[in-house]
Point group: C2
Chain length 341, copies 2
């Protein structure tokens, strides 16, 4: 079959597996509740690099290389690299490609780019195109903060709804084929979101901007695959955080759906939000990329979970659009992952 | 067959056609040699909009809508919109998606994003995924200049190698199927480029940064499809401009290849480079998107051309990477288009 079309938004696949994955994070992420699941934890935010942009590039490169090493795959065997980051002109992803020299398809959907990469990657593999795709995403707290908000050195006070852009990178190696051995994970389906904008304008509250997009995509996905939410052990949104998960749960309740026991969030899980002073939780493309590649893949492989729906969420605003008084559109893309038995 | 794999970089398709296309441009582009080929020419750069970002959004939306109208296709029939622009966080593409409400896959490869969109769009259609994909890209002179260089109002002196970021948008409607009627154009194949960086650091000379990437992708493409360059009536690079085409031709000559009569460039064609004071030529994602959607598609449909290879080129730098002393990596993606008979 390869690709099965469920709707304009959703497609299922029967021949794409995640062969390996890797997550590399910063010190704060390493001290969080998921610390033990990550492959590598940097001792400092910069880890001897001279700029935060250079550090993000190194972090992403490390995660990409590690995913390949874990699968015993050489760079020359990778057909296409797909992915993105939060930096203007995708410089982390682009500069990493200067090193690996493989064909590159740069993607952007802010913090939703990891599931966009996995979903599109699975679709082109299932359709008979590339057979090995590396899907990866990254973010770095310092490079993102100074680009979107203020330089770290300013030490400005963060609002209670603010998220903490994570220093994290995650990479998954997607390959064509049926699952052949125990650890293989199956990419069952993908749902590509539409842009939802309820008119919120607060750049320090991404949760309120993104929760409606997550709700829209999850509803669309469940309708398209013809399943109840209980088909999944857990639905992990990208970085809605503490507030966003509550909003999402409330939206579901308004439509008579009790999703509460199935909802969790990568940004909420990445840190101890109380102890680590991160307010609403983690964000950034590296957030869902690392929580999925580090924590969720292990939970699936160790049979803690059988099926997970990952719904990365992205706020599609720029410092320019914000200053021009524009509202903040959001998008959410979803991928359903299961273990082979 | 659907998708035929030629190499890690190149894929051919036998069931994807361009059903319609549209190009909308600014006044300077309308006054250029290709003016008569564009669907609409704006009377002014802002065309009554209050900011250049808002103008770019309107320009892109107009091209997208027009491509649909020309095909008699409703927005509800579009499965996926793919594309990008040059603005930080892809705000033109994202904000347009707020209007059309269709699933969106945002892409970024700077001025190479139009061929990335067409190539990936063709691959997922051929693979049995979406059946209708709208591929689109835009740029606006004023929004790009102030983001990458200086505000227009400053009136700074441009260097001889500088390109003129075009105010232009192009959109192509890709649909699954065999060509059914005269005007259908076939997407024969696509080649996804790798990142090439020869170490150039001058942000006012994109031609020198991008020509090696174009050369690499064209060579890879011809090797993969097993053809001589003469298989194509013309190879149009994206925005190498006057200088870049000379460099590309010289690189080919160094390897004993005489490509000179087959090479042309969208950025060089869009303006009368002497009369219109654009120095090296046009640039921006809208450049190859509009020249292809306006001029090249018409030349193919009117049987002036039988086969064209479009090789959009992108310089993958940001104002931050430039200030940090980084060199300018570049990428080129190619799509081969032919008419049905």
């Amino acid at each position: 079959m390869g690709v099965g079309r469920l709707s304009a938004s959703s497609y299922r696949f029967d021949n794409v597996v995640i062969r390996s994955q890797a997550a590399v994070v910063g010190p704060k992420e390493g001290e969080g509740p998921l610390g033990k699941y990550f492959d590598r934890i940097w001792p400092s935010e910069l880890n001897h690099h001279t700029s935060s942009e250079e550090a993000e590039l190194a972090l992403l490169t490390e995660a990409q290389n590690l995913a390949l090493v874990k699968a015993g795959v050489e760079w020359s065997q990778v057909d296409l690299v797909m992915g993105g980051d939060l930096l203007d002109q995708l410089i982390a992803t682009d500069f990493a490609a200067r090193g690996h020299q493989r064909p590159l398809a740069g993607l952007f959907s802010a913090c939703a780019v990891f599931t966009e990469s996995v979903g599109l990657g699975a679709m082109i593999i299932a359709g008979g195109g590339p057979t090995v795709v590396l899907a990866a995403a990254s973010s770095h707290h310092m490079s993102a903060e100074r680009q979107f908000r203020y330089p770290i050195e300013l030490g400005y006070q963060r609002t209670p709804t603010a998220a903490w852009t994570s220093t994290a990178a995650g990479a998954c190696l997607l390959v064509e084929g049926r699952p052949v051995k125990e650890p293989d994970l199956i990419i069952e389906s993908a749902t590509f979101g539409r842009v939802i904008d309820w008119g919120t304008k607060n750049p320090n509250d991404m949760a309120t901007a993104m929760a409606p997009a997550a709700f829209d995509t999850i509803k669309q996905h469940l309708r398209d695959v013809g399943r109840d939410i209980s088909y999944y052990d857990q639905v992990y949104t990208g970085d809605l955080g503490v507030l966003g998960v509550k909003l999402l749960d409330a939206m579901a309740r308004q439509e008579g759906l009790d999703w509460s026991s199935y909802l969790d969030d990568c940004g909420k899980s990445l840190y101890d939000t109380q102890r680590q002073d991160v307010h609403n939780g983690g964000s950034g493309p590296g957030c869902s990329a690392s929580v999925f590649s580090g924590f969720l893949c292990r939970q699936l492989r160790s049979k803690e979970f059988r099926r997970v729906l990952l719904v990365s969420t992205g706020a599609l605003f720029s410092p320019t659009s914000y200053k021009q008084g524009e509202s903040i559109p959001a998008i959410a893309h979803a991928v359903a992952i299961s273990r082979m038995n």
